[in-house]
Symmetry: C2
Subunit: 222 residues, 2 copies
DNA sequence: CCGTGTGAAGCTGTTCACAGCT
DNA sequence: AGCTGTGAACAGCTTCACACGG
C-alpha cells in the first residue's frame, strides 16, 4: 500500500470516494494542460468544487500537500490512483449482450484506467458466437462459472433483463466475483460479502422530468 | 396539477426525488403481483427502505395514505407519476451515435413511462443515414437546432466525446431544450436556467475498485 | 387498535476559520 | 506570506417516537 491510511475504510463515505474519482479526472486534465502544481483553491475554482472539502477528502488518506504551496499534480494523481486501487488491473465481465451490455463492453471508460473487459455473455444462442464492436465474441452464460474462475474476474456488470438478474447475481457470487455493478431494475438480495452497486439510468431522466414539471426557477446540479 | 404541493419545490432534495422514482418502481412491481393496499412498513420491509422516510418523502406532496390502513397501491402510483411529471410525454434527443448513445436510444427505460426518443444525431457523415436498432435513423448534428424546435425536444442526452460536449451543450441550450443529461466526462458550464444532470458511469467502477482494494469486511450498498 | 403524518432528536456531510508548517 | 490540515460550527438528511385520525 503506497499511502498511509488514517482512519478505517468503513467509516469513509461513498460520497468521498466518488469525489476522489472526480479529483482524479480533474488532475488528469490539468496535467494534460501542463499544470505541475495546484492548490485546493485553484482546483475548486476551476472545477466548481469546495476547497475545504477537497482537503478534507484527501486528509482521510494522508498528507499529500505542501503547506504554503499546494499539491504536486502528478504526485497527487498517483496517490488517487493508489487509493482507488486503479494501479492493478481489474478484470471485468459483462453479463447480458443487449444494447447496454454491448455498449459498455466497448465503452472506453470501461477499458482504460485499470479496467479491462475480459468477456461478454448472453443466454440467447443467436447472440453467442457473434463478435461485438471492440473485438470480443459473445459467450454463453452457461459458461459463466468457468469463465469467472479461469479469467479471474473481479467485477461483474449485470445488464440482463430484470427478471433474470437475481439468478445471474447468485451465480456470479457463487463463482467468486468480488463486486457487482447492476444495471437491471431489480432488488438483488442475499450476499452481503460481495459489494453491490445498483445503477438505474432511468432515475436520472425522471429527475429531469420532475424539474421540468415543477420548474419555476431552475438550478443546475451535479 | 393532480396533487397538492405543500412546500416549495426548490426546497425538496434530489435525494427525495430519486427515492420517489424508486417507490414508483416498487409499486409497479407490487401491482403486477396483485397487491392493492400496502403500508409504508410493508413497503420498507419488502424493498429494504425506511418506512418513516417513505412517509416523509410523500408528505412533501400531500396526504396519500389512510391512517390505520396504509396506501392504495394504484392510487399512490398515480400520484407518483403526476409528481414526477410522467403523465405527459417527454421528447428526448440523443446527441452522439456512438456505443452509448445508440444503446440508450433503444434502451427500453428511455422509451417507456413518459419518455420517447425522437432523434439521434451524430457529426460523423458515415453514421448519418444509418438506421440504429430501434428504428431511428441517425441525423446530422448540423440539424440540431431545427430538430429541437420542430420536434419540441424537452430533454437532450449528450453522449459525444468529452471535448465536443461543451459545444453541443451550448447549441442545445441556444436551441431551447429545457434539461440535459450529460454522459460525457466534461465540466459543462454557462447556463443555469437549463437543468443539467451529469452522469459518469466510470465512477461506479472506480468505487467498486476502491472497495476491492480496501475490503476487510465489505457491506452491500445501492 | 393500527398506520399515517410530523415535530424533535440524532446523525452525517459540508463549510468555516485558523493554527501550524513550509 | 500562503496554503494545508483540521477542530468546531453549521446545514441537511434520516430516524425515532408519538399524537392524531380512520
Amino acid at each position: 500500500m503506497a499511502f498511509k491510511r488514517y482512519i478505517p475504510v468503513e467509516s469513509i463515505s461513498e460520497l468521498t470516494i466518488n469525489r476522489l474519482s472526480v479529483y482524479l479526472r480533474c488532475l488528469q486534465q490539468l496535467e494534460h494542460e501542463g499544470t505541475t502544481t495546484i492548490s485546493s483553491q485553484e482546483l475548486a475554482d476551476r472545477f466548481h468544487l469546495n476547497s475545504a472539502q477537497i482537503r478534507k477528502d484527501l486528509a482521510y488518506f494522508g498528507e499529500f500537500g505542501i503547506r504554503g504551496v499546494g499539491y504536486n499534480a502528478a504526485q497527487l494523481r498517483e496517490h488517487l490512483v493508489n487509493i482507488l486501487g486503479l494501479h492493478e488491473e481489474r478484470r471485468v465481465l459483462v453479463v447480458g449482450a443487449g444494447n447496454l451490455g454491448t455498449a459498455l463492453s466497448h465503452y472506453s471508460g470501461f477499458n482504460t484506467g485499470g479496467f479491462r473487459i475480459v468477456a461478454i455473455l448472453d443466454s440467447d444462442p443467436r447472440k453467442v458466437g457473434k463478435r461485438v464492436p471492440g473485438g470480443l465474441v459473445v459467450e454463453s452464460v452457461s459458461d459463466l462459472t468457468r469463465i469467472v474462475k479461469e479469467r479471474k474476474v473481479h467485477i461483474a456488470v449485470i445488464t440482463v433483463p430484470s427478471n433474470s438478474a437475481q439468478k445471474v447475481y447468485d451465480e456470479l457470487v457463487e463463482a467468486g466475483v468480488q463486486a457487482v455493478l447492476n444495471f437491471a431494475a431489480a432488488q438483488l438480495k442475499g450476499h452481503p460479502e460481495v459489494k453491490l452497486k445498483n445503477v438505474d439510468l432511468k432515475i436520472h431522466l425522471e429527475l429531469l422530468s420532475f424539474f421540468l414539471t415543477h420548474a419555476s426557477r431552475l438550478a443546475s446540479v451535479t
